[in-house]
């Protein structure tokens, strides 16, 4: 039972009209929707707004409808109107009353919208307290994980697939039904533009896009090729063990950084060599828990051990894999050819334009693909 109804039944008093003082907030357009795209409280902060906006913006703009963001301080790259913390609640209330729709997780804004009969797409995330007035058909619930969708956080609100929001907004505002490919997972480092070189051969890289070149000695340990490659261009190096001191000394100016990958029973002494030779380095690992703590004591005199993210890819279970594809900004280079992943490089399925293509999954997903998966954006054309 909603708390107002509960109150009414206890006291015999029927709740009346709410009261909130409003102040004018001038805009140079009058047809707009409001997206509540930032909250300082992580429980209410949705992380996939960019995907929602990419889908709805072209359609809304054809209808002359603008997007207004309610934010704390973070502006997105979209050229929209941003109402930040400097606006008072009374001004935001004014904007909500004039909007075509409010979409977000804020219960207060939802209440204001309800009191003013403004359409909503409410992202419900607080189930402890039934204190909104929004009708259920205007709600997208977040209390259940979506099948085949990876929530990259531990917070309920990010259970909601961005396409659900986009579809609901378009249906509510325009009464139009749209079909989109569905997001399965967006890796945390999807936006990183890396060139990962497996040093099984050497060649000159045409790096016009100024991507970060990373030599993966942990995938193929060849000191000779590393040395030659470093003679061509500056690179970062990932290694899980020590390599020849002479390479460090002779190619010092070409080594941008060394990422020392800590595994079980790692030997920290290589870091002494790096420090002695003044080589910039970071320490990375996929270990966690007590395994990681055991290693920490060995590395306490060096630097913080940074934890890498490995995805389980459970979201792919039971999906029609033929309809699943992924995009990536990371390019794997092996034997002089470009690949979308290490698996693609193993089976020699190369692609000349990795960043503008989409890729099928490997038939068997191994640990190496899972370790890479945080660089990928997985989608499916299946309607789920």
């Amino acid at each position: 039972m909603n708390l107002l109804k509960s109150f009414a039944s206890t006291t015999g008093l029927q709740p009346s009209k709410s009261y909130l003082y409003e102040k004018l907030y001038p805009l140079d357009f009058d047809r707009y929707i409001i997206l509540d795209t930032q909250s300082s409280n992580g429980n209410f902060h949705y992380v996939f707004w960019f995907r929602v906006i990419e889908l709805i913006e072209p359609i809304l703009s054809k209808h002359g409808i603008n997007i207004v963001h309610f934010i704390e301080d973070k502006k997105y790259h979209f050229n929209h109107t941003y109402v930040d913390n400097s606006a008072q609640l009374s001004q935001r209330a004014y904007l909500i009353r004039k909007a075509l729709l409010f979409c977000g997780s804020s219960k207060l804004y939802s209440l204001i919208a309800s009191e003013n009969n403004i359409k909503q797409c409410f992202l419900k995330t607080d189930y402890s307290l039934d204190n909104t007035l929004v009708e259920d058909e205007e709600v997208i619930h977040s209390n259940k994980a979506r099948k085949h969708f990876l929530n990259p956080t531990s917070l309920k609100i990010n259970n909601i697939r961005p396409e659900e929001i986009a579809k609901k907004i378009l249906k509510t505002v325009l009464n139009e039904d749209h079909i989109f490919d569905n997001t399965l997972s967006i890796g945390k480092v999807y936006s990183a533009h890396n060139l990962e070189v497996i040093p099984d051969c050497t060649f000159k890289i045409n790096n016009n896009s100024k991507s970060e070149i990373v030599m993966r000695m942990d995938c193929f340990f060849s000191e000779e090729n590393l040395d030659t490659q470093l003679s061509f261009e500056s690179c970062a190096v990932v290694t899980n063990k020590a390599f020849n001191k002479n390479i460090l000394i002779n190619r010092k100016n070409k080594i941008k950084k060394i990422y020392f990958k800590v595994e079980k029973d790692s030997d920290a002494s290589f870091l002494d060599l790096l420090e002695e030779n003044k080589i910039n380095y970071d320490i990375i690992t996929t270990l966690s828990g007590p395994d990681l703590d055991k290693e920490k004591i060995k590395f306490i005199n060096y630097k913080k051990i940074n934890k890498l993210n490995s995805l389980s890819l459970g979201f792919l279970d039971e999906l029609d894999k033929s309809k699943v594809y992924f995009k990536t900004n990371k390019i794997v280079i092996k034997s002089g050819k470009t690949f979308a992943s290490k698996w693609h490089s193993k089976v020699l399925i190369n692609s000349p334009d990795v960043r503008n293509e989409s890729f099928k999954l490997p038939p068997v997903i191994d640990e190496s693909f899972k370790d890479e998966a945080d660089y990928f954006y997985f989608l499916t054309s299946e309607q789920i």
């Binding site: 708390l3 509960s6 029927q14 709410s18 003082y21 204190n131 910039n280 590395f299 306490i300």
Partner: protein, 621 residues
């Protein structure tokens, strides 16, 4: 399985380059490797949630606030900031969260003395492990000693004096030194290091590793060095001052005044870009790295950014002799480090220097003259420059074999007395003898302050301030109390006694208000209970917004009654401009009493637990 004892180690952050920090790292690393204990560190000098705290395999809490009211308070004065930096305001919080079985506070006495009167201090196994460096001993340490069951000091010097004045339970536990980091390098390695740093092999290098503080006797050392130079004009010699040139003594200026050529003084630069180091003449506070060529990346070493232990070992190994003149000190770890590298050490024979000058330690004692420190009246040592020069000459004249022999004996003595395993054996024995902590009845009752107390006229500023604490705030403070020092400083800089007294009275009033019974007459004067309706809404913004619907309905039912709302500060944004509300107030605990509400309002609506569980309530007379 036996439950592991939880130890809260309260000292400098393990990765800071201070003596306390290095002790923390040595002790906690050792204890961690035993696998026997659950370790938590309350780390002084580092911000809360700082990413560096994740580097330790034990849980580390930072202490310096990042933002908000706490940060503003921290920045309000130097003394306040210092207390925050010690962790004075985070200690109770961590104790509440962690409930350790053993608390070990390791700091200068004024950096941990606030813990002694905490209600939990003697409920669990608490240790104060502190440095006491001067005679007469810090009066607060002496007066508090009976309250501290486990009172450890860093030097025999302090223990002897505590025993002499009757506190026989005080015992020495030296700070731990990680002996494996410091070793005697081969002659070839030493030559190579000197060559890398453009130091000629025949140059007689006199070293001093120190934090650039008042108590390190830099002027005396420079004078001693000048005497040595003047009496040996042909001697190629350099003074290596491994310190930070931006804090403390203005070394350049004193060199000029002492007649020491600045070219004869070396220092260590460390590069922020490549983390390499170089020993060379001082040429500015930020210089270009000769190795990686990064501009202005090299600074002299400090406690926040310095060289690694391995590099420091190399710096010691470039020296021929180590000279440590100081006014007083808790342990002076560089002396032990120098001994571990086989150097003959010259040490002022006072304070912890007395420990270093016992025969087994194989130091050369430096003579000193007594002076009294202004303000504290502590005995301090002014090291005799002639003695410095004499002992330097003695080492210079010593045959190499004898130097090596003494160096090895001194190294052994250091390992036997200061090595981490030696110190940790003592600590482990203590921990293993302790029971688990007991946290029953640790809450204290509120003591009412007296904002109207009569303050007698007292000439002495410190005593007068102590009267304010005692008579108005009903609390006693020690001489080293951060708050007391803050106000002494304010008096010195011209703040009037009247304004300080007013401040104390204001604090007392506010504190009492927080705790005292609510006086209804002050809030509702001019109206009678029959005309008043109370709505309590201590909730979130949404519920506060929803309450306006209820307030509207109440107003419709009783248009002539005045509605008082009890809420929180956050309600302002919602209630502002609402003409149906007579007054919105921040609630006190009396509003939770049904009798109080019955006696003062026609009707009361409690919407605090405004939720689907239907446990909101209505009181109607």
């Amino acid at each position: 399985m036996v439950k592991k004892k939880k130890i809260l180690f309260h000292s400098d952050f393990a990765l800071s380059k201070t003596g306390f920090g290095r002790n923390t790292k040595a002790i906690l690393s050792y204890l961690y490797n035993t696998g026997k204990y659950e370790l938590v560190c309350l780390a002084g000098g580092i911000a809360k949630n700082h990413s560096e705290t994740e580097r330790t395999p034990w849980k580390t809490y930072g202490v310096i606030p990042n933002s908000g009211k706490e940060a503003a308070d921290c920045n309000s004065s130097q003394d306040r900031g210092r207390l925050y930096s010690y962790g004075a305001f985070e200690l109770d919080n961590v104790i509440n969260i962690e409930k350790p079985d053993i608390y070990i506070g390791v700091q200068d006495f004024w950096g941990v003395d606030y813990s002694i009167n905490k209600s939990w201090f003697n409920k669990i196994n608490s240790v104060i492990w502190t440095t006491l460096d001067s005679l007469p001993l810090l009066s607060t340490a002496v007066s508090e000693a009976p309250k501290i069951k486990n009172f450890w000091v860093w030097s025999d010097f302090a223990e002897k004096e505590m025993h002499r004045i009757g506190h026989k339970h005080v015992k020495t536990v030296h700070g731990a030194v990680e002996v494996s980091d410091f070793k005697i390098l081969s002659s070839e390695q030493k030559r190579s290091l000197r060559s890398k740093n453009n130091i000629e092999n025949e140059t007689y290098v006199i070293g001093f590793v120190f934090r650039n503080q008042l108590r390190k006797s830099v002027p005396n050392l420079l004078q001693g060095f000048k005497i040595l130079k003047d009496s040996n004009p042909n001697l190629k010699t350099k003074l290596l001052l491994h310190t930070n040139w931006q804090e403390g003594w203005n070394i350049q200026k004193i060199c000029g005044e002492s007649g020491v050529d600045i070219k004869d003084v070396l220092t260590t630069y460390v590069c922020k870009a490549c983390r390499g180091y170089e020993v060379k003449n001082f040429s500015g506070n930020e210089v270009t790295c000769s190795s990686c060529k990064t501009e202005n990346s090299c600074t002299t070493t400090g406690t926040t950014f310095g060289i690694s232990e391995k590099q420091l070992n190399e710096v010691y190994n470039m020296m021929d002799v180590y000279c440590h003149p100081f006014t007083s000190g808790g342990q002076e770890i560089p002396i032990q480090e120098a001994k571990l590298t086989g150097l003959i050490t010259l040490v002022t024979n006072y304070s912890c220097g007395e420990d270093m000058c016992q025969p087994e330690a194989h130091s050369l004692p430096l003579a000193w003259n007594e002076y009294r420190e202004f303000g504290t009246e502590f005995i301090k040592a002014s090291t005799n420059p002639q003695s410095i020069a004499d002992q330097l000459k003695k080492v210079l004249a010593m045959p190499l074999e004898e130097k090596a022999k003494i160096g090895k004996l001194a190294r052994k003595w250091t390992i036997d007395n200061f090595a981490t395993n030696v110190i940790c054996d003592k600590i482990q024995k203590f921990i293993d003898s302790c029971d688990y902590g007991n946290y029953e009845n640790t809450e204290k009752d509120y003591v009412e302050k007296n904002p109207y107390a009569q303050i007698p006229y007292v000439e002495d500023p410190a005593l007068w301030l102590k009267c304010l604490y005692s008579l108005i705030l009903k609390t006693d403070v020690t001489d080293a109390d951060g708050g007391l020092l803050h106000w002494i400083e304010k008096l010195k800089t011209g703040t009037s006694r009247q304004s300080i007294e007013s401040y104390f009275r204001e604090v007392a009033t506010k504190d009492n208000d927080k705790h005292k019974e609510f006086k209804i007459e002050e809030l509702f004067s001019g109206s009678n209970p029959e005309d008043r309706i109370f709505v309590s809404i201590d909730s979130n913004l949404e519920n506060i917004f929803l309450s306006t619907k209820i307030i509207s309905s109440i107003k419709e039912k009783y248009p002539d009654k005045k509605i008082f709302v009890g809420s929180t500060e956050s309600c302002q944004a919602v209630f502002s401009g609402n003409t149906m509300i007579e007054s919105a107030i921040i609630k006190s605990k009396e509003f939770e009493d049904p009798e109080f509400l019955k006696n003062n309002f026609f009707e009361s609506y409690c919407l605090d637990s405004f939720c689907i569980n239907n446990n909101h309530s209505l009181l109607i007379k």
